[in-house]
């Protein structure tokens, strides 16, 4: 039996100039917050941006975006939802709504293949991919199926988080995959050198630091989350992602 879906994925993603996979082997470090904010920051700089939530079991990007979940429109495939004005968005949550998604690895891969094969993206400068935690099926499928993904790593100053994140960096380095830099989330007031030191050890850019903000959820649900305290750090991340065309981890 032959699976027809892989043959069409590159064609589906042909209108996408760059794929940025926001990843961290550690859970709870703010991958979704960083990917959503980065997508909005890139969009605010005039780029056409899509956001793909691949955290099937813990989908939350739609919550951060305040996106109304509905079935996608059909036109030659399924069309991403249009959210926050001009952001194209796709998530398993469009089909599962707010119910639990109990999937094993094989089913995760099937769902990922299906979404990639049938989602029709408009021309995009960036497709931001919100990756799930861990180094499991979704990461391996992204490496297997997506053309030229570039990684953006999310870390917090927590020593535990950093140790787990470093394992992912070591794997990406071993595989000679491009990492565009590290975003520090939940940064301590007054700064901390641990994430910067990790970036330096891997010759990576520190793309920006997002402070620890207890009010982050309220900020995200405001009409323009980048209008206040999040604006400057996220504009910095966007500038660096736009300016950076550097290669693999050295």
């Amino acid at each position: 039996m032959i699976d027809p879906r892989p043959a069409v994925i590159h064609q589906r993603l042909a209108p996408v100039r760059r794929i940025l996979a926001f990843a961290s082997a550690k859970g709870g470090v703010g991958k979704s917050v960083c990917s959503v904010l980065s997508a909005l920051a890139l969009r605010d700089r005039g780029r056409r941006v899509g956001l793909l939530d691949l955290d099937f079991q813990g989908a939350s990007a739609h919550l951060l975006l305040g996106a109304e979940l509905r079935f996608p429109e059909e036109e030659g495939g399924i069309r991403p939802l249009r959210v926050r004005g001009s952001l194209d968005f796709m998530s398993f949550a469009a089909f599962s709504r707010e119910r639990a998604v109990p999937l094993r690895g094989r089913e995760v891969s099937e769902a990922l293949l299906e979404l990639l094969a049938v989602t029709v993206w408009d021309p995009l400068d960036f497709l931001v991919v919100d990756m799930p935690p861990g180094i499991g099926d979704e990461l391996l499928d992204v490496l297997r199926l997506l053309p030229g993904p570039e990684f953006v790593i999310i870390a917090t100053p927590s020593a535990f988080a950093l140790q787990v994140v470093e394992r992912l960096l070591a794997l990406l380095q071993e595989l000679r995959l491009p990492v565009r830099g590290i975003v520090e989330n939940m940064a301590h007031p007054g700064g901390d050198t641990a994430v910067a030191a990790l970036a330096a050890r891997y010759s990576l850019a520190l793309l920006g630091s997002i402070p620890y903000l207890p009010e982050i959820e309220a900020l995200l649900s405001s009409p323009n989350p980048l209008a206040g305290v999040l604006g400057e750090p996220m504009r910095r991340v966007a500038r660096k992602l736009l300016g950076d065309a550097s290669g693999e981890i050295s």
Partner: protein, 135 residues
Amino acid sequence: MHEWALAEAVVATVEKIRRENGGRPVLAVRLRFGELQNIEMEAFREGLRASLGGLQYGPEVFLFLNEPAAFRCRACRHEWPLAGVPGIGEEEREAIHFLPESAHVYLRCPGCGSPDFELSAGRGVSIESVDLEDD
């Protein structure tokens, strides 16, 4: 219709196989349609016709076979067909049509209530065989 995207994937795959075999003419393609995804056949045929434009073979080489969906519970080993599964409304059917893995969101093992089941047959569209000239 999202059936078009799947038809396009089928044609892309057949073309890949044809290219890998020296561009030999396509005689027959057998497609299996899993019951779970509930593909609208007319929409699929339309997508097929649109994707085949300019190629040297037409929709007549495609043979369609239906495959009933079957589930097996990993927890209690109970096996059951899709037909007669209670509790699937229109919304749930639509979600499963778009993304068959949504079945794990909405269905449970009728034997023990577990969500930990596998789809042993009849998921979606697959290619059973591609016959090329001189095969």
